[in-house]
């Protein structure tokens, strides 16, 4: 192993991505070289770990990073996946240099690709769930950005958004599951989780195990583009630059499942029975996706959409293998079948996507109908090898791996039947039947694609090929590697199984003879070849001899037409999600109109009510004050008059003093007249004027004040009233009760 290989394998692409941004935009050459170097070096580092694992040196390497433990795990699964991903990554990068050579924004492309590979490498070397999740999110975010790489196109922008949102659903589900594990185990570290399976029991006791594990499964299903979350992949692959599609990020899903499966299975054996729900769900959703995606693939016209459906379908097989393996008494055969398919399929799918991108580059179209009739031996061999491997033509890998999975399923059925679990047995037989059926459909759509691409076209003129040599060379390397793998399968399976021995701890199919015995002379092999033959026969007559006039049938039978339309539109998932999003937005707009505005309006109503009430009170009070004051003044005046008459005029005139009386009378009269003069002058004119003046100025002042303060006072009063009410309520609730 090269020094720090498991760390540098993912750090170098990430660093490369950052450095790419710093390169001058005019020098596209530099960013090509940088990306190729960083991905190449990463591949070398990844490959350098293979000998260590082969010699049995497995270990975990931890590193304290900014208060968090990071861990990489060097074990067969991680190392083999890291090698596969980084090698394909390097080839794809080399291919892209040619493919994207006229792209003006190549810097952004390289930034995203390197970040993507960095994230992918984080997932595949990580020994820590949180770290896995970080890689997972990086891959998701870069996928989203790559789907909108040509963001000026409205449709591509929309697909990016859709991809991002759908992936978020899975990410949140996965995050919740990981957090549940963390909370009950106190660690994210896979080795610690493996060493101490107590956490499964803790989770199981709190009743969280099944929800958490189903959320985990949802996380996997979304990333792996499985039913019912499969819809992002076809659109995303059709929108993003085709050269990138060969990096099937979906494989991260089954990889993570394979990573965690041994932990879960150990818990299952120790007695956490609920986990069987998870395994059954995995197997069934897997086969459902395999079948439905294969059906969808038969109707697609865009080659990237078609291949996307085939990716979903193959991953469905892997999940079936894992689910069945975990339910079986012995996990090893199924587990190895799944991981083997995972490893090999990365190359087959990569080869198919690269060949398709190559043809699309020449044809300048991704439509199957327009891509036929191009003479490129290289791309045609690529398509042939890929398709034959995929549909299970005997010496190639698909034949071995699909039969392996079928055998595992059958043996589960048999063992379940033996111990009397009829339901499990029936379920497994049904699974087996559906796998066979899927195999037939796969043969049909695989050959359809093959024959549509390889046919001799009379309508199109023969194109002059001017493909950059780097594209040709990287496709050739991919072809050679994949052919090497495919034709050496019987030898590779034992090698693979021996390689995985330290992980599974149990030898299984460790030489060629055993492999042949295990797979060749079984019922499953015969049946699957039969189904494959039927599929091939149909495809042959529809697309080569055209003895089955499908177009006419479609016009005659509406059912066929409808089915085709539904399949072509991928069950209208896209429309459904679009409508769902629109509904949510419409609902929240309604919520805003009624609840949010209502809350505001309610508050305003309260405030204005209080303002009106205050005005009423003030007006009323003021009028009363006027009346009272006037009445009071009148009383005073009457009293003064009365007392004057009583005392001055009548009381004094009764006095019996002669002479003095007259004098007094005259004096009084004078005084009276003066007083009356004064009264008229003072009381009626000045005082009343004063009073009137005072009243008017008071009114004016008050109006000013009211105008200024209406809002303020009412708001304050509202708030004070609210506060008092609140306080009173609280005091009543707590204060009084406790006080006594």
């Amino acid at each position: 192993m090269l020094p720090f290989a498991p760390w540098l394998a993912w750090m170098i692409p990430c660093l490369g991505a950052v450095v790419t941004l710093a390169l001058p935009k005019t020098k596209a050459q530099w960013s090509h070289i940088l990306a190729l170097t960083s991905l190449g070096v990463s591949a070398v580092f990844s490959l350098s770990m293979l000998p260590d694992v082969a010699t049995g040196k497995l270990f975990e390497w931890r590193w304290q990073w900014s208060l968090f433990d990071m861990a990489v795990l060097i074990d067969p699964l991680n190392v083999i996946m890291a090698s596969v991903v980084s090698v394909i990554g390097f080839l794809v990068a080399a291919f892209s240099v040619g493919y994207m050579r006229h792209e003006p924004e190549i810097t952004r492309f390289w930034f995203l690709i390197q970040l993507f590979l960095g994230g992918y490498m984080i997932i595949v070397v990580s020994g820590d769930l949180l770290q896995t999740f970080i890689g997972w999110e990086l891959v998701g975010a870069t996928c989203m950005a790559l789907a909108s790489f040509w963001y000026r196109d409205q449709e591509n922008a929309r697909i990016g958004l859709k991809t991002g949102l759908l992936l978020r659903v899975g990410d949140f589900a996965l995050l919740t599951a990981i957090l549940s594990i963390y909370v009950s185990a106190g660690t994210f570290n896979l080795t610690e989780l493996q060493a101490n399976p107590e956490w499964l029991f803790t989770l199981s006791q709190s009743g969280m195990l099944v929800p958490a594990m189903l959320l985990f499964l949802v996380g996997i299903l979304v990333k792996a583009a499985q039913f019912p979350f499969q819809d992002w992949l076809p659109d995303m692959l059709a929108a993003s630059p085709s050269c990138f599609n060969a990096l099937t990020e979906c494989l991260a899903g089954p990889f993570l499942f394979a990573r965690v499966l041994p932990l879960l299975h150990e818990g299952y054996l120790l007695g956490v029975g609920e986990l069987s729900i998870l395994f059954l769900a995995t197997a069934w959703l897997g086969i459902l996706t395999a079948l439905l995606s294969a059906l969808l693939a038969t109707a697609q016209r865009n080659i990237n959409r078609l291949l996307a459906c085939s990716v979903s379908s193959v991953i469905g097989y892997m999940l079936v293998a894992f689910g069945v393996a975990a339910l079986s008494p012995d996990i090893v055969p199924g587990y190895l079948a799944g991981t083997f398919l995972l490893t090999v399929d990365a190359f087959i799918t990569g080869l198919l996507f690269l060949s398709a991108a190559f043809l699309a580059y020449v044809a300048r179209s991704e439509n199957l109908d327009q891509m036929g009739g191009i003479h490129s031996r290289l791309a045609h061999r690529g398509i042939e090898v890929g398709v034959f491997a995929m549909i299970g033509i005997p010496p190639l890998s698909g034949f071995w791996s699909s039969n392996w999975i079928q055998t595992v399923t059958l043996s589960l059925a048999e063992s379940a039947a033996r111990v009397g679990q009829t339901l499990m047995a029936a379920s497994s037989y049904l699974l087996f039947g559906l796998i066979l059926l899927t195999g037939g459909i796969t043969a049909f759509y695989g050959l359809r694609m093959l024959w549509l691409l390889l046919r001799r076209s009379s309508t199109r003129t023969h194109r002059h090929l001017s493909v950059p040599s780097l594209m040709q060379r990287s496709l050739l390397s991919m072809l050679i590697i994949t052919m090497g793998i495919d034709f050496l399968i019987p030898v590779l399976i034992p090698a693979f199984n021996t390689f995985f021995l330290p992980l599974v701890m149990k030898p299984f199919l460790v030489d060629v003879f055993e492999v042949s015995i295990y797979i060749l002379p079984t019922m499953s092999t015969i049946l699957s070849l039969l189904f494959c033959g039927v599929g091939a026969y149909l495809a042959y007559h529809v697309y080569v001899t055209q003895r089955f006039p499908v177009d006419r049938w479609m016009q005659q039978y509406a059912v066929l037409q409808v089915t085709h339309r539904v399949l072509f539109n991928r069950f209208y998932f896209d429309t459904f999600s679009q409508k769902l999003a629109e509904r949510v937005i419409a609902a929240s707009t309604l919520l805003m109109k009624f609840v949010e505005k209502g809350m505001d309006m309610g508050l305003n109503t309260v405030a204005s009510t209080i303002t009106t009430a205050a005005q009423l009170i003030f007006h009323g009070f003021e009028r009363q004050f006027d009346i009272i004051a006037a009445a009071f003044a009148a009383r005073v005046v009457t009293a003064v008059h009365a007392s004057y008459h009583l005392i001055e005029l009548e009381g004094l005139s009764q006095r019996p003093i002669k002479g003095f009386n007259e004098l007094f009378n005259s004096l009084t009269r004078i005084l009276l007249s003066i007083a009356q003069q004064l009264y008229r002058l003072f009381e009626e004119d000045i005082a009343q004027q004063l009073q009137r003046g005072f009243l008017t100025s008071f009114h004016r002042f008050e109006n000013q004040l009211r105008r200024l303060h209406t809002g303020l006072v009412s708001y304050n009063l509202l708030m004070v009233a609210l506060g008092l009410g609140l306080l009173l309520g609280l005091l009543l609730l707590f204060g009084l009760g406790g006080g006594g």
Partner: protein, 495 residues
Amino acid sequence: MLPYSALLAVVIPGFVGLGLLAFRRNVTDRAGWIATAATLISVFLMLNMATDVLDNYNQDQSPLLFEYSWIKPINVSFGFIVDVVNLPLGLIVALVSTLTCFYSIQYMAGEKDLPAYYASLLLFMMGMMGVMLSNNLIQFYLFWELMLIPSYLLIALWGTSENRLRIGFKYFIFTHVGALSMLLGILAIYSYTGTFDLVSLPQLIHLIPPEMVNVIFVLLGFGFFVKMAVFPVHTWLPDAHSEAPTPISAMLSGLMVKSGAYGIARVLLGIFGSTMTFAADFLTILAVITIAYGGLMALAQTDIKRLLAYSSISQLGYILFGLGTASSLGVTGGLLHMVNHAVSKSLLFLCAGILIHETKTRDISQLGGLMSRMPVTSAACVIGAFSLIGIPPLNGFWSEWMIFGGGLSADKIVITFIGVASTLVTAGYYLWFVWRVFFGTPSPLVEANNVDDPSVLQLTPIVILATLCLVWGLFPGSMLIFIRSAAELLTGIGG
């Protein structure tokens, strides 16, 4: 550490602000630069306390205390406390204020009465710093009110629409009522314990009769909730934050609302920890409603600033959720999210300011395809949005998983699941926002206005903030070294 660090960090911006007002005729154009310098001093003063705070905590969990005698008869001193809880928050307040102040230099150029604007900004910042660092409750309240007045003026005088007076008034009344409720709570605490001191209160809390503890808890909680704009009392926030001039929106949304969250952490959790544990169910439910409601409202907006304002409500729901779980992990997440949201949201508001400035519109439906026109702003804005969605390796990711991990570890399983599900709404409105504004073909309005990245003066703050999002995401430990201890400290006292 320099002597009087905390005191100077709080009062220097205030005095410089008053100075700007006094010499308003002499400083005219230089006011922005002087104000930025003053805020920058605060940043350095906060930074220079960092190592001492950590050393002190590691020795015996004691905070740095700066006390000066004040009102002797009732045993109130004027002083500041700096510990692992509020150092990161004080630092972020100073930092974001500095950046918005710097951003204002160009953004506000040409507006009326700039010295008064910067003076208000500095006093506003002083209020926030004071709230974050005060060592006693009465001083906490005074700074709380000090924060209110300049921010009211900023909205009412430099606001963006005709409604600014009415909206400023609404903001004033709402927060003021909250503050009064809080004041009642503070006075009630004093009447039982005879002290306002935050350091000695946790030991004296047994003096309060248990029934009154609940009353006080509710009174204080109401005050903090209004400031944090928790669901039923949130209606002031969208108005205020969208009407304020954009740099001030960044401060209101990024910083000021955090003072409510800080109050919850420091007072409710630090002093009334056991009541908090009882109230946890209630708080987390309220938080989830706030998250979902704010998110749905944001989804319905067509105005950039209102979208961001509603998003703040939703994000404060996250913070409340983390603090409300009263578990160590959740509180860590909540405190960390206070810092992260401050950075990301002010980044988004500053970007929105640039968008509005360049395109002359706030209507999202009229924007589109800006990625090719203003790459730097777009990239920064995308980083801010991704950070709040919680995509690693950006900073928001760390706080979000901790918040919900905290919910699970406090055995609030159902509510946490609902909370996690409602974060999808966050992803929904942010992604939709980003895609509508930056992707696709440039809209006619964008074409017509000949939109371009602004000058370096305006780009610098957003680039710094975007870098912080990334750096704190790559090195989460740089903040967690304080915040993890802070969560231990707070939940330790409470437990």
